[in-house]
C-alpha cells in the first residue's frame, strides 16, 4: 500500500484531500503544519507528498528540498498545492525539486489524473 503525506494548515482542505486519497487506496498521513510534516516524512517515508506552501514552522519548499536531497526519501513524488499562483512561486516549486505544481483551487479529478500519470511514469 502506497503512503501519502498531506500537509496543509487549512483543516477543510485536509479533510477533502484525505477522503480523496483514501478512496484511491493510499495510506494517508495528515500534517497540519510544516513541522508535523517534517516528523512524519522521517517516520513514515511516504511515497507521495501533497504539500501546501505557506505553513507555520516549515514551508512546502523547505520540505521538498529536504526530501529531494535525502537519499532515504528522494524516491517520493512531491506535488505542491498552493494558493500562490505567481510565475515566480511556481518556478521556485520546480527549482526545489517538486514534480508538479497545482494552483488552488484545483479540480479533484484533475489532481487524481495527474497523480496517476506520475505513478505510471515512475513505473
Amino acid at each position: 500500500m502506497l503512503k501519502v503525506l498531506i500537509a496543509d494548515d487549512e483543516p477543510n482542505i485536509l479533510m477533502s484531500l484525505e477522503f480523496l486519497m483514501k478512496k484511491e487506496g493510499y495510506k494517508v498521513y495528515i500534517a497540519r503544519d510544516g513541522g508535523e510534516a517534517f516528523d512524519l516524512i522521517q517516520q513514515e517515508k511516504p511515497d507521495l507528498l501533497l504539500l501546501d506552501i505557506m505553513m507555520p514552522r516549515m514551508d512546502g519548499y523547505e520540505l521538498c528540498q529536504f526530501v529531494k536531497q535525502h537519499p532515504d526519501y528522494q524516491h517520493a513524488k512531491v506535488i505542491f498545492l498552493s494558493a500562490k499562483s505567481k510565475d515566480l512561486d511556481v518556478q521556485k516549486g520546480y527549482d526545489v525539486g517538486g514534480d508538479l505544481y497545482i494552483p488552488k483551487p484545483f479540480s479533484t479529478r484533475d489532481l487524481i489524473a495527474k497523480i496517476n500519470q506520475l505513478k505510471a511514469a515512475a513505473a
Binding site: E10, S16, L17, M55, R57
Partner: protein, 913 residues
C-alpha cells in the same frame, strides 16, 4: 632660595617651553596641528593676562578693592560683539593677507604708508614700557624669592640675571616668531607654547589662591570676616565716598579696545586664527578664564594685608611672599614660574607682533621704494625681511630692558599697563569706523590718529618724563610757558579726573572728532574708496577680492613673476602663478597681466612685506594709470552684480535640487503605495482561494461519490456552507475596509447613549457565549454618557472585540469582562478575556491587515485577518484609539478610547470637582 636654584628653574621652564614649541612645529608638519582645536585658540587669547594680572591685580586690590576688576569687565563686555566685529576683522585679514594692526589700518585707508608708520611708532612707544614692566616683574619676583633686596643699586648689565633672561626670551621669540617670511602663516610652536603658558599661570595662581584661602584661612568667608574688622580693608568692600565711579567707567572703556587691538591680542585673535568657528568656544572660554583667575585676587589681597600687615611688603608680590612667609618654598616657586609664564608669554607675542609691524610698515616701505636698493638686495629679500624682524625683536627687548632699569621703578605695574591701553585705544575710531563706515577716509583716520596720539603723549607720557627728570617740573604745576590750561593732568582746565581717565577723555574726544571731521570734509581717493567697500562689505566680496580691486595699467606677467621670485623663490613663485592662471582661466597670450593677476600678486606680497610695501612694489614694475573714483565704483558694481548673478544661479539650482528631491519622494511614496496595494491584492486573492479550494474540492467529491454515507455527506455539506459564509464575510470586510480607508464611507454621527450600545452589543453575542458555556460580564463604572458617534460602527467595534474574545477563550472555562469608565477627557471601554493571550511582540502587528500571514510560526486563527484593522480604522475616524494589554496564557484586554464631547467633559469635571 638661592639665585642659582631660581636661575636653573627658570632655565628649565624655558627649555620646557622650547621643547613644546619644537614638538608642536614638528607635529604640525606631519599634519597633526593642535591649533585646529578651539581650546588652544581660547587659551592663546589668555595672553591678555600678563604679569600685571598675576602680580598687579593683587597689589591693586589691596589698595583699591574691587577696582582691579575693571580691566576684566571691559573685555568681557565686548565678547558678545566678537561674532560681528572680530569675525569681520578676521575675515578681512584673511582675504587681504593682513598681518598686523598697523597693516590693517593702513590697508583700509588706501594702503597708506604714513598711517602704517604712525601706528607702528605709537605701538612701539606705547608698548615698550609695557614690556619693560614684564621684565621688572620677573626681576622683582626673582629678588623676592632669592631674598635679594629690591632697593639698592641696580646691578650692572652683565651681572644682572634679568638681562640674560631677556636675551633668552629674545632667542625664543626669534626662533619661533620669525620662522617664515609670510607673517600670515601660523606660528604653530609659538602659539602652542603660549597656550601652555596660559595653563601654567592659571594653575599657579589658583594654587596659591587655594593655599591662602583654605590653608591659611578657613575659606573665603573667614578672610572677609577678618578683613571686615580692619577699617582700612572694610572700605574696599564697597565703593565708598573716595572712589570715583567715573574712573571705574573709564577703565572699563579703556580695556574694551585693548582686548582686540593690543598688538599681541591682534596677533593671537586675528593673525593666528585658524578657523572663524573657534570664536564660538572662545567667546565663553576666555571670559571664564578671566573669571577663574580673578576669583582669588581679593582673598589674596586681604589675606596678605591681614598676615603681612607691614608697609614694607609690596602687595604686588603677595602671591610670592605669602607662601614664602610660611616656608612653602615649593608653592612659592610654582608662583614664581606662573608669574614668569605670564610675563614671558606677553613679551614673546608682543615682540613678535611688533617686529612684523616694524619690518612691514616701517622699514620695508622705505627699502622697496628705492629702485637702487631693490636692485642691490636682489634675491635676498626674504632673508632681509626676516633679519629685520629679528633685529627688531632684539632691539625692542634691549630697549625695554633699558627702560626697566632707568625709568620703570617710578611707576607701578598697573599705571604703565594703563598707558599702553590708552595708546592702543587710539586705533578704535579708525578701526571700528573703517569696518562699518564706507565714508571713513584716509584724511579722517590720519587726523584722528595724530590728534589722539598727541593728546595721549602729552597727558600721559610727558608727566612720566617730568617725573624722570627729563622735563622741568613746573610743567606739571604751572603748565609749559606758564600757560595753566596746558597742564598735562588738567588739560583745558578739566579737573576731577585721574590722569588715565583725563587722558582717555581728551584723546578720544579729539580722535573721534578729527576722524569724523576729516571723513566728512576731505575727499576720498579712489583706492581709499575701493578698500573702504572691500572692508565694510567683506562678507560679500570675500570670494571675488582679486576682481574687486580696481587697477589700470600695463605690466608684464614675467615682471610680476620676477617680483614674486625675489621674495618667495623661483619654485613657489612659478607654482603660485600657474595655479592662479589655471584656476581663473586668465589669458596670458599677450604677456600682459590682467588686473586680477596683478591684485593676486600684490596680495601675496602683502602677506610677506605688508600692504603698503606691496603696493609700492607693484607700482615699481608696472606702468600704472591713474584710476578715477567712478571707475572704482563701476568695477565694484560689476563684481557685485556678478556676485548677485552667481547667488541667484546658486539659489535657482538649489531650488531645482529641492524640487527634484520632492518629486523623487513623491515617486517613492507612489511606489510604496503601489507596492502596498499589490501586497494587499495578492493577500486578498490568497485568502479568497483558500475557502474556494475547500468548496470546490468538497462539492466535486459529493458530486462524484453517490455511495457516501449520510453523516459524511452532511458534514461535507455543512463545511461547504461555512466556507461560503467565510468567503462572503471576507469579501464584505475587504469592501468595508476599502470604503473606510478611501473615505467614501462617511460616518453618520448621532447622539448616542453609550451604555445602551454596550448593552446591545453584549446581547447580540450572548448566545454565542452561552453556546460555549462562557461567562460574559458587564461592569459599568461610569455614569450615563452620551457621545456623538456613528452608532452602528461603534457597535461593530464592540461586536468584533467580543467575538474575538469568545473565539480565543476555551469552552467551559471562558470568562469575558466588559468595563466602561471615564478617564479625564476619554470614555474608555475595555474587553478582557482569560484566553490564550498574545505575545507582546505581536501587540502592534495584530492591528495590521492580514497580520497572521506575516508570521510563519503561529497557527492561523480563524477569521479574515481584517477585523482588528477595521476596528482601529473606525476608532481613528472617531479621534479615538485602541490598544491591547496581554501576556501569553494570561488573557488579553483590548482597550479603546473615545473623546468626550465638550458637554460631557464639563459634566465629568463637575462630578470630579
Amino acid at each position: 632660595m638661592s639665585s642659582l636654584t631660581l636661575t636653573l628653574c627658570s632655565l628649565l621652564y624655558l627649555s620646557v617651553l622650547f621643547s613644546i614649541a619644537f614638538w608642536a612645529e614638528r607635529r604640525s608638519k606631519r599634519g597633526g596641528s593642535l591649533l585646529n582645536s578651539p581650546y588652544f585658540y581660547a587659551l592663546s587669547l589668555a595672553v591678555y593676562c600678563t604679569a600685571w594680572t598675576f602680580y598687579g591685580s593683587v597689589g591693586r586690590a589691596a589698595s583699591g578693592g574691587i577696582e582691579f576688576l575693571s580691566v576684566y569687565i571691559g573685555p568681557t563686555l565686548t565678547v558678545p560683539l566678537w561674532w560681528s566685529v572680530l569675525r569681520k576683522i578676521i575675515r578681512i585679514c584673511k582675504v587681504q593677507r593682513i598681518t598686523s594692526i598697523a597693516d590693517f589700518i593702513s590697508a583700509r585707508y588706501g594702503k597708506n604708508r604714513g598711517i602704517g608708520v604712525m601706528i607702528t611708532i605709537l605701538c612701539v612707544i606705547g608698548i615698550i614700557p609695557y614690556i619693560s614692566i614684564q621684565l621688572k616683574a620677573i626681576a622683582e619676583s626673582f629678588a623676592v624669592l632669592s631674598g635679594q633686596s629690591l632697593v639698592g643699586p641696580t646691578p650692572v648689565w652683565l651681572s644682572d640675571q634679568s638681562f640674560y633672561m631677556t636675551l633668552i626670551l629674545a632667542a625664543f621669540t626669534i626662533l619661533f616668531g620669525t620662522r617664515k617670511l609670510e607673517a600670515t602663516e601660523r606660528h604653530e610652536g609659538l602659539v602652542t607654547a603660549i597656550a601652555f603658558e596660559s595653563v601654567i599661570k592659571l594653575v599657579a595662581f589658583v594654587a596659591v589662591g587655594i593655599y591662602v584661602t583654605y590653608g591659611l584661612f578657613d575659606g573665603p568667608a573667614d578672610i572677609f570676616q577678618q578683613a571686615e574688622k580692619l577699617p582700612s580693608l572694610k572700605q574696599h568692600f564697597v565703593f565708598h565716598a573716595g572712589h570715583s565711579t567715573s574712573e571705574w567707567l573709564w577703565y572699563i572703556i579703556l580695556s574694551m579696545p585693548a582686548i582686540l587691538f593690543l598688538p599681541r591680542q591682534f596677533q593671537v585673535a586675528v593673525v593666528e586664527n585658524v578657523d572663524e568657528k573657534h570664536l564660538n568656544k572662545a567667546m565663553w572660554l576666555f571670559p571664564l578664564y578671566m573669571f577663574v583667575i580673578c576669583l582669588f585676587v581679593l582673598p589674596l589681597a586681604f589675606g596678605g594685608k591681614l598676615i603681612l600687615n607691614n608697609p614694607i611688603d609690596d602687595a604686588d608680590v603677595y602671591v610670592l611672599s605669602l607662601p614664602l612667609h610660611f616656608g612653602e618654598k615649593g608653592l612659592a616657586l610654582l608662583a614664581y614660574i606662573g608669574g614668569f609664564s605670564a610675563a614671558s608669554s606677553m613679551i614673546i607675542v608682543e615682540t613678535t607682533a611688533l617686529s612684523v609691524m616694524i619690518s612691514n610698515n616701517l622699514v620695508m616701505p622705505i627699502l622697496v621704494s628705492r629702485p637702487s636698493w631693490q636692485k642691490q638686495i636682489g634675491n635676498a629679500w626674504s632673508t632681509v625681511v626676516i633679519n629685520i624682524r629679528r633685529l627688531a625683536i632684539l632691539a625692542m627687548l634691549l630697549l625695554a630692558y633699558e627702560y626697566y632699569r632707568q625709568v620703570s621703578h617710578h611707576f607701578s605695574l598697573v599705571s604703565v599697563g594703563m598707558m599702553s591701553f590708552a595708546a592702543v585705544a587710539q586705533f578704535t575710531p579708525a578701526i571700528i569706523g573703517g569696518i562699518y563706515w564706507k565714508r571713513g577716509t584716509q584724511a579722517g583716520a590720519r587726523l584722528g590718529l595724530i590728534l589722539g596720539a598727541s593728546v595721549w603723549f602729552y597727558t600721559l607720557i610727558v608727566p612720566t618724563l617730568v617725573t624722570a627728570g627729563l622735563l622741568p617740573a613746573h610743567w606739571m604745576t604751572e603748565g609749559p610757558l606758564n600757560q595753566g590750561w596746558l597742564r598735562p593732568y588738567t588739560l583745558f582746565g578739566l579737573h576731577g579726573f585721574d590722569p588715565i581717565s583725563h587722558s582717555v577723555f581728551w584723546s578720544f574726544f579729539v580722535n573721534i572728532g578729527g576722524y569724523i571731521w576729516g571723513s566728512l570734509y576731505r575727499p576720498q581717493s579712489p583706492l581709499d574708496h575701493n578698500q573702504a567697500v572691500l572692508f565694510v562689505d567683506v562678507f560679500e566680496y570675500a570670494r571675488r577680492y582679486d576682481s574687486s580691486v580696481a587697477w589700470k595699467g600695463k605690466v608684464q606677467v614675467s615682471d610680476l613673476k620676477a617680483l614674486l621670485t625675489t621674495f618667495f623663490g623661483e619654485e613657489r613663485a612659478t607654482r603660485a602663478m600657474e595655479r592662479y592662471i589655471r584656476k581663473h582661466k586668465i589669458n596670458t597670450q599677450n604677456y600682459l597681466a590682467d588686473s586680477r593677476l596683478v591684485n593676486y600678486t600684490e596680495k601675496l606680497l602683502a602677506g610677506a612685506v605688508g600692504t603698503a610695501s606691496a603696493r609700492i612694489l607693484i607700482a615699481s614694475v608696472a606702468k600704472e594709470e591713474p584710476i578715477a573714483l567712478d571707475e572704482v565704483i563701476k568695477i565694484l558694481k560689476v563684481s557685485h552684480e556678478l556676485l548677485t548673478v552667481n547667488k541667484e544661479l546658486r539659489r535657482k539650482s538649489i531650488e531645482l535640487e529641492k524640487l527634484t528631491e520632492q518629486l523623487r519622494e513623491a515617486n517613492e511614496l507612489l511606489k510604496a503605495a503601489d507596492q502596498q496595494k499589490d501586497d494587499f491584492l495578492s493577500t486578498v486573492t490568497h485568502e479568497i482561494r483558500t475557502p474556494i479550494t475547500s468548496i470546490r474540492a468538497l462539492s466535486e467529491i459529493l458530486h462524484d461519490n453517490d455511495e457516501m454515507d449520510q453523516e459524511t455527506r452532511q458534514h461535507f455539506l455543512s463545511t461547504i456552507i461555512k466556507e461560503s459564509e467565510r468567503l462572503t464575510r471576507l469579501i464584505n470586510q475587504v469592501l468595508d475596509l476599502e470604503r473606510i480607508e478611501s473615505g467614501r464611507n462617511k460616518l453618520s454621527m448621532e447622539v448616542t447613549d453609550m451604555a445602551a450600545v454596550v448593552q446591545d452589543a453584549v446581547e447580540s453575542v450572548e448566545q454565542l457565549a452561552i453556546d460555549k458555556r462562557m461567562e460574559l460580564e458587564v461592569v459599568n463604572t461610569c455614569p450615563e454618557v452620551t457621545l456623538i458617534v456613528d452608532r452602528d460602527r461603534i457597535m461593530q467595534v464592540l461586536i468584533n472585540l467580543l467575538s474575538n474574545a469568545i473565539k480565543f477563550c476555551e469552552e467551559d472555562k471562558g470568562h469575558i469582562w466588559v468595563r466602561t469608565e471615564l478617564q479625564g477627557m476619554w470614555y474608555v471601554v475595555s474587553v478582557a478575556d482569560n484566553g490564550h493571550g498574545i505575545e507582546p511582540k505581536y501587540h502592534s502587528l495584530i492591528f495590521e491587515k492580514f497580520y497572521q500571514t506575516q508570521d510563519r510560526n503561529t497557527r492561523k486563527p480563524k477569521g479574515s485577518g481584517l477585523g482588528l484593522a477595521i476596528t482601529r480604522k473606525i476608532l481613528e475616524l472617531h479621534q479615538g484609539s485602541i490598544e491591547v494589554q496581554s501576556e501569553p496564557e494570561q488573557g488579553a484586554t483590548f482597550i479603546f478610547r473615545l473623546p468626550l464631547t465638550r458637554f460631557e467633559r464639563i459634566a465629568s469635571a463637575q462630578e470630579l470637582g
